[in-house]
Amino acid sequence: MPDFDTGTGRIMAIYAIALGIGYILSGVIEVFGGAGMVPGDIFGGLALFVIAATYITGVPGLLNGEHGGLSFLMGGLLLSAVFGVLYILAIGADGLEYIIGAAETLSISIRPEIWLFLVSLPLAYQVWKLTREVTW
């Protein structure tokens, strides 16, 4: 017997696959030196692969409506939030440097970690609805 509605699980699985692909593509670009808005960052790229793997590992469980699948989805969302918030704070720090006069120009780098985090928020809301009753 599934732990939650398999229809919802299917939608979340598709979302998780899309996010996983997004993280893999961004990771590849970061590892191989960056392009456009995506900077070159080997370790950052590897971290994106880890997030992608976390999302994708949970897909079979989500399709079957199992708690196990939800675990990987929550793990992926947590990692997305950690990296997304990290680089949003980094933008704030760059802005502060500019305000105090330590930096000559204001450079705003909207890394893929930020927009992938923002894209993951509707999924996070869906997971929150499913886990509202869960205790620590």
Partner: protein, 435 residues
Amino acid sequence: MNEYSGEDLEVVFPERRYEAIAKIMETAVRVRKERKWTFTDILDHVFLHRVLGIPIFLALLYAVFQFTFAISAPFSDMIDLSFGWLGSLAGANISNPMLASFVADGVCAGLGSVLVFIPPIFILFFALAILEDSGYLARAAFVMDRAMYKLGLHGRSFIPLITGFGCNIPAIMATRSIENENDRIITILVNPLMSCSARLPVYVLLAGVIFSTSYVAGAAVFSMYVLGIALAVMSALVFRKTLFRGKPAPFVLELPRYAVPGLKSVTLHMWERGKWFLIKAGTFIFAVVIVAWALSTFPWAATAGGELIENSYIAMFGHVIEPLFRPFGWNWQSAVALFFGFLAKEAVVGTFGALLGAEGEGVNIALANAHWFTPLSGFAYMVFVLIYFPCVATIGVMLKELRPRWVLFAAMYTLILAFVVASLVMAIGHLAGLA
């Protein structure tokens, strides 16, 4: 008893205890419905995963160092601007040139160049406190145990090793929780390879100078921590296979529930661990930078009041030890900074400040303009600082915990390892055309 029972009692006792608890629970506690799935179950399912557990831990560790590096920069700049203003104020208003040099170049420049690292150190401790208070750090110990056991380290060694990222002194004291003497000695011997926060200022300074983008600099700093862990586990494996034959004792750990970390608790943890840096900066490091200033300024007449450092006592000493480091492309100033780094690792930065006549973030600019390091030689220097000699205070604690011969062994093997690994970095860099 182990031999008699044929089982390891350190494992058997907790197992029997939990079996007894489970039996009592069955009879004494009435469960109305099926046990509910909790957040702790949900998160443990992924964070303790056999395959993903370690990569997730490494990804989070990387986030911690990026957080430290990116967020601290404006706060360091504020401290730098304050000390720069104080230094120029002292230089302009003190008529006695020797006193003016002491206040501006010794006190303000020396202390300022160390205090700019308060933000990264406190932010690093803040991030580690979040991981600890959330209950994740205990999970990290758990996921690392399998790998650590294979590499000859006890699972309980993980907490002292992670503590070593903050400071090797409490980390070495924390090894007292390891009951098996051989496991404890191995953990202490490899602990200085865990990159303590005193080394962070050196990495931040050099990575900022030799790499143009902050992401690459952040990755270079992170690589020091990864290299430290790799060398620690490799050294432990070698020690286990040669000096301390046998298997590590089994590891039993009770995992706490996950929790949302409270701001007050995290801030208190950060302060408890970070305040030693303020104390050390105000006492020991301050004394070291004053000695570095005096040695780089005297004889007063010969150096024209610190203007001609080539004629100073520190230059004479630097030229004596420079040949040891010449193969790495490091000049006498860099060699002298390593010498003072033996007293306290942060003093490497203070010494650069004194030798360059710069303070705070100005040391970055002065060091970049001096062209003392290429990216390769600078990276090799970071590697050397990571590995060579534990600092004096760490040696002192090791002497309390180990026999003197082991302390001497730790000092010698880290020094030899530093030369070997830095040479390898240079050789690989030359072969890769990075020279």
